[in-house]
Symmetry: C2
Subunit: 333 residues, 2 copies
DNA sequence: TTGAAAGCGATACCAT
DNA sequence: ATGGTATCGCTTTCAA
């Protein structure tokens, strides 16, 4: 490795002061056209690239946004991540990405992130204790929760209206005359699941249905497959299953078809939640409650910007409505 | 936001010098147990978190690894990314992640990354010009290509042995008595495709087959679906299709089944390449050439480490063999 | 407009 | 083992 090129080298080469070089590369300042030209030329000649580390140290801004992702393996999240990366790239921000190790407490990784003094922190599908959120805020790092919320926290949050989505699916099943309905839950301690389930069961009750089957999974494919197998081998086989995630819904469809030789939707209707890319594949044609990812991401970025510009703004929770996407996995529509 | 807490604040509070505080947080140095205790206590009390920016400026190391990813939307890459994140997290390194915008030249985003003085750069499924690689090296930033290689470049590279994989699939089809074989290509200008195709066609020739069908896709699901539709509606319908990616293979299976009512593998055998998670789902049971992602990632990290420790080490290309995974989409095995 | 000089918050070398 | 101090590479006053 050759000697590192700094703005001083460029200054010497261009016959100007180091300050002037700095001004050229921070754009804003006005510097005489001829000098600017000489600086640029010298920089190019020497292969100079400004050092963002040094810049961050003085400006107190890194232009880096931290993103914490829980599970990249579920096909829904890569899409979310991709969107975030696109947005941030367009804003000329860089992205420092973190995943939690299995069973690792998200709270524990935050200090690692804070060491790097990110300008803001986006946390998807994981909750943070109010203490750690406050610690971030204390350091001037806004926190925005994506698809999770914590009441009475100082963190902003953007979330699909999961309860409303659950109600809509209940309506869908009942409107199409299904008699024996089942729900396959995600982990019962995460709000994404509980909200969907709450909306679903509230609406069922409102419409006079007081009993239905329930199995619990973990949002992943295999758990949906297994849960559906348990449900569909019962003597009182359900004729409709609402799965708390698309992933589980696809598993449920495969269990019905390949595990038990049933037809979907003729023998059993299946609905999901998320609308991940595979939901539209011919093999599945899954009817599902779509999360409006693009809108959610854009909203998250907006909240982030607002909070960066006015750190004292009050935290808000933005609920984004889901969109019911009718395909072929629920009969009678 | 309160005043930022620095090591000086901690030093004052603990009644020691700032140097001592620094020593406590950089671990290595020995400092008297009682002082260390006082420092830790003061730090905790003040909510002090060391500033990695300032540290990087003096140590000339950021502990950040840059990763450039081309397409997160293909289900194969999130898995790769997840593995990288895990490995790097275990090494206490942070990850700065970049994706290229559609049609954006990867070369153009490298300077943005270099500004942040990452300790190394991992580039997946994209090539870099030799000039830009040399520029990185000049700045002491090793470059490791993942699943792509550039001959005569100074970048290290880790790649599946795509040619060998292609040969193996040719063997598989011929050993199982298929007569009319077809190949669905990815973009014909990327080495991942050309190597697979080259191995495949070489072996076909070696075994006396000189003619076969060919369609071109883009590695994604839809293109596989469309290409398979074109192939399977020909009068001389192929009885075996080798797809350059699992994604396209799944599309091909769906096209055969749902587009044309054919059975897989009875009417047509289909093989893929990658072994992404869905390949094992009951709906597909795809026979495919698996890329050994864990091994590839580990190898990449090893090369990276070696290059960081000895910047003058010669660049190497590591070929990782694929593993043929026999499931149910090819008949006769 | 331009240059000189004072930080930013650590590390690391040099004394003690 | 501990403290003082120069240093990393920039941005940002302050004067000129």
């Amino acid at each position: 490795m050759a000697k590192r090129i700094t703005s001083i080298d460029v200054a010497v080469q261009a016959g100007v002061s180091q300050s002037t070089v700095s001004r050229v590369f921070s754009d804003i300042e006005k510097v005489a056209p001829d000098k600017r030209h000489r600086v640029l030329e010298a920089a190019n000649q020497l292969g100079y690239i400004p050092n963002a580390i040094a810049r961050s140290l003085t400006t107190q801004r890194t232009n880096i946004i931290g993103i914490v992702m829980a599970n990249l393996t579920s096909p829904f999240y890569p899409y979310v991540l991709e969107k975030f990366l696109q947005c941030l790239r367009d804003m000329e921000k860089q992205t420092l990405l973190f995943t939690a190790a299995p069973n690792q407490d998200i709270d524990d990784i935050i200090p690692h992130i804070m060491q790097h003094r990110v300008d803001a922190l986006i946390v998807t599908s994981a909750t943070l204790s109010t203490e750690i959120v406050d610690k971030c805020l204390h350091y001037g790092i806004p926190v925005i929760l994506f698809n999770r919320y914590v009441l009475n926290s100082n963190a902003n949050a953007v979330c699909t209206d999961n309860a409303e989505g659950g109600r809509d699916i209940a309506n869908l099943f009942l409107d199409t005359g299904h008699q024996n309905i089942a729900y396959i839950a995600g982990q019962s301690n995460v709000s994404t699941n509980t909200d969907r389930e709450k909306g679903f069961s509230d609406r069922m009750h409102e419409r006079g249905v007081t009993e239905w089957l329930r199995e619990e999974g973990d949002f992943f494919y295999q758990s949906g497959y297994d849960a559906a197998l348990r449900l569909l081998t019962r003597p009182d086989r359900p004729d409709a299953i609402f799965c708390a995630s698309d992933n589980m819904a696809l598993g449920a469809i495969d269990a019905a078809r390949y595990g038990l030789g049933l037809r979907v939707p003729d023998d059993v209707s299946i609905a999901g939640f998320d609308d991940m890319p595979m939901a539209s594949w011919p093999a599945y044609q899954l009817t599902t409650m779509a999360q409006q990812v693009d809108l959610m991401v854009a909203t998250t970025i907006d909240l982030m910007q607002a909070k960066i510009e006015d750190p004292d703004s009050k935290p808000v929770l933005r609920l984004i409505p889901g969109r019911l996407v009718i395909r072929g996995s629920v009969r009678g529509v």
